[in-house]
């Protein structure tokens, strides 16, 4: 083996102390106002720029400007909405879920959390969320996964959606899937926590930079329901001012540093 000279013990101790301070603060996440679940039904949306239903098994693309909000509305159990996101105009900057969960110390993304790009900037804020039941770990269905009777699946939908944005499969990041309450048990195995979903859940995502999104409405492979995949409705709202004490922008030290990176450009 190659020889190795250890770093000085004082340097190691100083780095460890700094990390343990970050860890203590990160795991003790206490937002300014507790992120209670958003009420059902969702209030009527004003200033609607675009509304689109995605039939079960299909996909869509959206372009968002900073401050605009996209609502995802489920109408029945069986729909899960997978998301990929890219910055405009540099599509090499994209949703990075490993960074998103790592810097926020949690795989449970819900109201008050933010989604990071690979460049340490915030792409989207989860400003409303009725369920907290979402998946960052397992993606969607593969070629032989759950689909509609014609076997549409998340992977193929994402290749198709990306293509219509001028992108290819090299550009597909790990997917976040909404209305998919995948959790990890003590042994590391996944399970579907169905109690989190009501069937008419909704989420709102606020764009924090110019973005293009790909969204696929398919049945999650861990979802035990069967039959036709219900449609979901996507509604885009015009940009609004963000309050200085906005929950997503102030909830954690990591979110604050992420928005500082956004401001640096």
């Amino acid at each position: 083996m190659m020889p190795h000279t250890p770093r000085p013990a004082e340097a190691i101790a100083a780095d460890r102390a700094r990390y343990e301070d970050h860890q203590r603060k990160g795991l003790a996440f206490t937002p300014k106002s507790p992120p209670t679940p958003s009420p059902i039904p969702a209030p009527a949306m004003v200033d609607v720029l675009r509304e689109q239903a995605i039939p079960g098994g299909w996909y869509s693309t959206f372009a968002l400007q900073p401050g605009q909000t996209l609502r995802l509305q489920a109408h029945a159990l069986g729909s899960s909405v997978s998301l990929a996101a890219w910055a405009s105009p540099d599509h090499s900057e994209r949703l990075n879920l490993p960074d998103t969960v790592k810097v926020q110390w949690t795989t449970e993304l819900r109201k008050g959390r933010v989604l990071f790009s690979d460049m340490g900037r915030v792409m989207l804020s989860i400003t409303e969320d009725s369920s907290g039941g979402h998946d960052v770990l397992t993606g969607g269905s593969g070629p032989d996964g759950a689909g509609t009777p014609v076997q549409r699946n998340t992977r193929d939908n994402m290749i198709l959606a990306a293509a219509k944005l001028g992108l290819g499969r090299r550009d597909l990041p790990m997917l976040m899937t909404f209305f998919a309450p995948v959790r990890v048990d003590a042994a590391g195995r996944f399970f579907w926590n169905a109690t989190l979903l009501s069937g008419t859940d909704w989420v709102e995502l606020r764009a924090e930079m110019p973005l293009v999104l790909a969204l696929s409405n398919t049945r999650h492979p861990l979802d035990p329901t069967f039959g036709e995949v219900p449609p979901v409705t996507l509604t885009l709202q015009g940009a609004r001012a963000v309050a200085a004490d906005d929950l997503c922008r102030t909830a954690t030290a990591e979110a604050i540093r992420g928005f500082q990176n956004n401001a640096r450009g």
Binding site: H22, V101, W105, M174, N261
Partner: protein
């Protein structure tokens, strides 16, 4: 047998042919080894963390894990694991994510993504080709309540994993230089890769 000694903080890449075994050795213990696999003949087919986790129904990489591609095909199978558990949720470190995690003062510390960009550039690839990787010998427990944290590594000096290639693969490694968390025991060390028929 090929032997590749990889210095601390450095990248490496090499081909593993179908049927060959690659052994990755954590020579000094507690060293995260960030690893991505690509189909050697079509780099657009590459390691997929989500396909790998979903297919095995569990979050951690260990003996028996089938390393899956974005086409849902098995790239390699893990046949030996002396350490017991490896991460594939936390991705690689970067200068940019370090600023979010540890503050702007860490922007100019070396990071795995710098390694990956430079090593991939030798194969005609770029930043967009860096997919979420396997972190061999990195300990990232996930709690049932979703909490996740990078804890002290559990690997001892000389621990290794072995994988049998199920297709010809390009293996790209960043020997992690991170000193802001315990993934390398705050002291990045050299590693060894062996490839045998």
């Amino acid at each position: 047998m090929q032997i590749h000694d990889i210095p601390a903080e450095k990248p490496w890449s090499g081909i593993v042919l179908k049927g060959q075994t690659i052994r990755i050795i954590d020579a000094y213990g507690q060293q995260a080894i960030d690893t991505i696999f690509y189909n050697a003949h079509d780099h657009t087919e590459r390691y997929s963390a989500q396909d790998t986790m979903r297919e095995q129904g569990a979050a951690y990489i260990t003996k028996g894990t089938r390393v899956m591609s974005n086409d849902g095909r098995v790239m390699l199978t893990i046949t030996v694991d002396l350490s017991g558990r490896h991460d594939t949720c936390a991705g690689c470190c970067s200068c940019e994510s370090n600023t979010v995690r540890f503050g702007e003062g860490t922007r100019h510390l070396h990071a795995c993504r710098e390694n990956f960009i430079l090593e991939l550039s030798r194969h005609g690839m770029a930043k967009r080709d860096i997919v979420p990787n396997i972190n061999f010998f990195m300990n990232v427990p996930i709690s049932p309540n979703g909490a996740m944290t990078i804890d002290d590594g559990i690997s001892a000096p000389g621990d290794h994993v072995e994988m049998v290639a199920e297709m010809d693969v390009l293996c790209v490694i960043s020997n992690c230089p991170q000193i802001n968390n315990p993934c390398n025991g705050f002291d990045p060390t050299p590693i060894r890769v062996e490839i045998s028929d």
